[in-house]
């Protein structure tokens, strides 16, 4: 007898029997994957001199990690997430954090570095308070290296700093939680501007009560004393941040069972005869014990929870009493990881961190449905419906850890566009306006950090973990936290899929503070680029006859040349005409949105 053969993985997923049998056909039409001739394939390796491929993007600057945090060995000094306040960028790291001023994005200025062993160090900013997630077993209260020998020294939870002087951050407090904090999400109090809630995600088990009083593990989700099956909620009063502490546990998992197989039914399990695994089976028979990451959309009172084997929709209108609205599973996903809402709150892009971020899971053999995104539509009944998958269409190498990771919206009016980091898969700009047909608009990718080891297997001890941890749009530019290489700043350039007007409109949207996991509602100012964005979209999608779009473009140009009352009148008249165009237009909704933007502009004209 011979050993079973390797599976004959097809290069294109659509051709493999696995998908044809198990996925709805609609899910497959969206994307050619992977693309054998992609310019990102086979880039030159290197840490700081790797080959680069850019599509409709410009690399504005790369700022290497500060010396204190600069080593590429393992994850110990890797950059993690980002937070933003005006022109200040907070860069998390497994060994501390750094603060940059990016007034000149071509040359960011390092303001401070705080060395502090804190895996994984995801930061959030609120006023003068910086919150940093700490989870690892080797994190100490005093930040020191060397690991934890006495459990009383162990820090797992959220560190709070006063960063009112960004050149000299001041440590305030460690808030200990039973499961530590893998990530966290800011949820503002609905009415009291002095109060912030911090939802803490941590998928690990609880620490022993000897280490932190009150902590308890168990497989019973209904047990109110159980530290599992809840998100810890920290309440912070900005007038007294020293008093910040866990106030409740959000039990949003109660009643969830294990994720059913695609096409299968969730069924009560039978005991496996003879197995000595009753308690483990009890764990396996429950759903998630925590979330990996949750994205709040406070303006909508909603939260999308990426919770291991499920994606959740949660009502957070009362932050101390969140309520689950829906939960969906897709067993092609290994680890529901993060979420991004569309600005209208009607769609959510969920990501699958298959392999945990350290595996090279964007090779040609890796299916589209594993390790990428999926778009869920939220119905009027606040229930999810799953639509297409998306995965970067490259064939990355064995030396590039790659899977979908963190991102945020790019505020283009009338469309749903996001930018996203894919570790060594690079930075991707994706349109998910049509949930069945997500597509790529722009990208930036580097070759692997490591040279090939083919033929010399022992020349390289270990694959370097690197790439974009998160890529976020903030006030006109894309900021990408490169785990090994530093802070990348990128600019999006016009293309057939994204016009100069649409980019200009996106650049009008400014936020003082921006924490990607606490998604702000985008409101566009009254401005010509906003009007012209809709017009460009109508031209591109043939949502209005060409004769009309040409005439409207001329009328907009003419109105812009005028000023004061004349401009106001011209815009008002044009808006009335466009409203009439809507009747019978192929894309009436977009035509009406354009008319509304014209009226707003008219009203804003003095």
């Amino acid at each position: 007898m011979r050993c079973p053969p390797l599976f004959p993985y097809a290069r294109t997923v659509a051709a493999s029997g696995l998908v044809a049998l198990l996925a709805a056909p609609a899910l497959l039409d969206a994307q050619t994957y992977p693309n054998a001739n992609d310019p990102r394939n086979n880039l030159k390796p290197g840490l700081h001199d790797a080959g680069e491929a850019l599509l409709h993007m410009r690399l504005v600057s790369t700022t290497r990690k500060p010396a204190e945090l600069d080593t590429i060995r393992g994850l110990t000094f890797t950059n993690s997430d980002l937070a933003f306040k005006g022109t200040t960028v907070y860069v998390g790291n497994f060994a501390g954090f750094s603060i940059y001023d990016v007034k000149n994005p071509a040359k960011p200025e390092l303001l401070s570095v705080v060395p502090c062993i804190t895996s994984q160090g995801d930061p959030s900013i609120w006023g003068n308070l910086l919150f940093v997630s700490a989870e690892g077993a080797g994190n100490r209260n005093d930040c020191a290296k060397g690991g934890v020998t006495n459990e009383q020294d162990h820090m797992a939870g959220v560190r709070i700093y006063d960063v009112s002087n960004p050149r000299a951050p001041r440590f305030l407090k460690n808030v200990q939680t039973c499961k530590g904090s893998h990530t966290h999400t800011l949820v503002p109090h609905p009415t009291d501007a002095n109060i912030m809630y911090v939802y803490v995600s941590g998928n690990q088990g609880a620490r022993p009560a000897s280490e932190l009083a009150g902590c308890k593990n168990g497989p019973d989700p209904a047990d109110e004393s159980n530290s599992l099956y809840r998100l810890d909620v920290i309440k912070v009063d900005r007038r007294n941040p020293q008093a910040a502490d866990v106030v409740t546990g959000a039990r949003i998992f109660t009643g969830l069972g294990p994720a059913p197989a695609r096409g299968g039914r969730a069924r009560a399990p039978r005991a496996m005869s003879g197995a000595d695994s009753a308690e483990m089976a009890a764990y396996a028979m429950t759903g998630p014990r925590n979330c990996h990451d949750v994205t709040a959309y406070p303006a909508m009172g909603l939260l999308a929870g990426a919770c291991a084997s499920y994606g959740l929709l949660v009502d957070i209108s009362q932050p101390e009493k969140p309520r689950r609205l829906d939960a969906v599973a897709d067993t092609m996903f290994s680890l529901w990881h993060t979420a991004v809402f569309s600005n209208d709150g009607k769609k959510v892009v969920f990501t699958d961190e298959w392999g945990g971020g350290t595996s090279p899971n964007c090779q040609a053999v890796h299916p589209l449905e594993m390790g990428g995104n999926t778009t869920l539509v939220i119905g009027a009944d606040k229930k999810f419906t799953q639509h297409a998958y998306f995965k970067i269409p490259t064939a990355q190498t064995t030396r590039e850890n790659c899977v979908s990771h963190n991102g945020s919206l790019i505020p283009v009016p009338g469309r749903d566009i996001m930018v996203q980091g894919w570790y060594q898969g690079g930075v991707d700009v994706i349109d998910f306006t049509d949930p069945d047909k997500p597509f790529e608009i722009a990208y930036f990718d580097r070759g692997p950090v490591d040279p090939p080891s083919d033929g010399e297997p022992n020349s390289r001890a270990r694959g370097t973990i690197a790439g974009s941890w998160g890529a976020y749009w903030h006030n006109g530019l894309i900021y990408s936290s490169e785990m090994a290489r530093g802070l990348d700043i990128l600019e999006v350039l016009p293309s057939e899929h994204l016009s100069a007007n649409e980019i200009a409109a996106a650049k009008l949207v400014m936020f003082d503070e921006f924490n990607p996991q606490s998604q702000p509602r985008i409101v566009w100012p009254a401005a010509f680029p906003v009007v012209r964005s809709y017009l460009d979209q109508l031209v591109r999608g043939q949502g209005l006859p060409a004769a009309r779009t040409t005439a409207i473009a001329q009328a907009i140009d003419a109105a812009e040349k005028q000023s004061g009352a004349a401009r106001k009148t011209a815009l008002t008249t044009l808006a009335g005409q466009v409203e009439r165009d809507a009747a019978g237009a192929k894309d009436a909704e977009r035509v009406r949105a354009m008319a509304a933007a014209m009226r707003e502009l008219a009203n804003a004209t003095r």
Partner: protein, 239 residues
């Protein structure tokens, strides 16, 4: 990144030895000749095979002491002074390579056994997932200058949850729905073993404080726990 672990995570039941494992014959099956290659064209798994043949050379050493997993076939561990890693960390990586390699071997039986579509999908997912993790574990061991087991090493080792020779023979002979049922039962057993190995690691003093092993151990725990629940349900769906 998946969560990094606190060493106190999962005071899950430490599985007593699975009864099936205790009865294991320790002779490597004669059918097992070629190494199971990890997915991917240039894999260090195969490359590492040369320095790791001792791993399956001493069947008498294979036993079920999952509290230690100490295989006499594995060279002693030497931890450099000042390193964050512990002997338990190294042993975990070495043993999990063998554990994963058997799982990959199991998944690659599915195609010719005429497995059902859902089982085939799951098998491929487990194959791709665990083959990738084997590579990570081998790289980690190599970086720390430790003995690197190859993907054939499972044949001489029997960590908790791993299939006995008898179970393996049954799986190799099963076809169609019978294969599906047996594959799921045995893979549940196998996954539970992996989770027990993670729990054992975390019980060990100062283990899993190094971030990379922590991330990996949690990835294994989270993914396999979810898959156990899935497999129970798939089992229930088989008539």
């Amino acid at each position: 990144m998946p969560p990094v672990l606190s060493r106190s995570i999962l005071p899950l039941v430490m599985l007593p030895l699975l009864a099936a494992c205790a009865a294991a014959s320790t002779t490597p099956p004669a059918t097992a000749s070629a190494p199971v290659a990890a997915a991917g064209p240039a894999n260090a798994a195969q490359a590492a095979a040369h320095d790791a043949h001792a791993a399956h050379a001493t069947p008498a050493a294979a036993h079920d002491a999952h509290a230690g997993h100490d295989m006499s076939s594995m060279p002693p561990v030497s931890i450099p002074a000042g390193a964050m890693i512990t002997e338990a960390d190294v042993r975990f990586m070495q043993h999990m390579i063998a554990h994963h390699a058997q799982a990959v071997y199991m998944t690659r039986l599915a195609d010719s056994a005429g497995a059902g579509a859902r089982v085939l999908t799951l098998a491929r997912k487990i194959d791709l997932s665990q083959a990738g993790e084997i590579k990570i574990m081998q790289d980690w061991l190599r970086e720390y200058g430790q003995h690197v087991p190859d993907t054939d090493s499972w044949r001489g080792m029997r960590m908790v949850g791993m299939l006995t020779e008898e179970q393996l023979a049954q799986l190799q002979q099963a076809k169609g729905v019978a294969f599906d049922r047996l594959f799921l039962r045995l893979m549940i057993q196998h996954h539970e073993g992996a989770i027990t190995m993670v729990a054992d690691l975390l019980k060990s003093p100062r283990a899993a404080q190094e971030v990379d092993i922590s991330v990996l151990a949690n990835e294994i725990e989270a993914a396999q726990m979810a898959e156990i629940g899935l497999m129970w349900q798939m089992l229930a769906d088989i008539p």
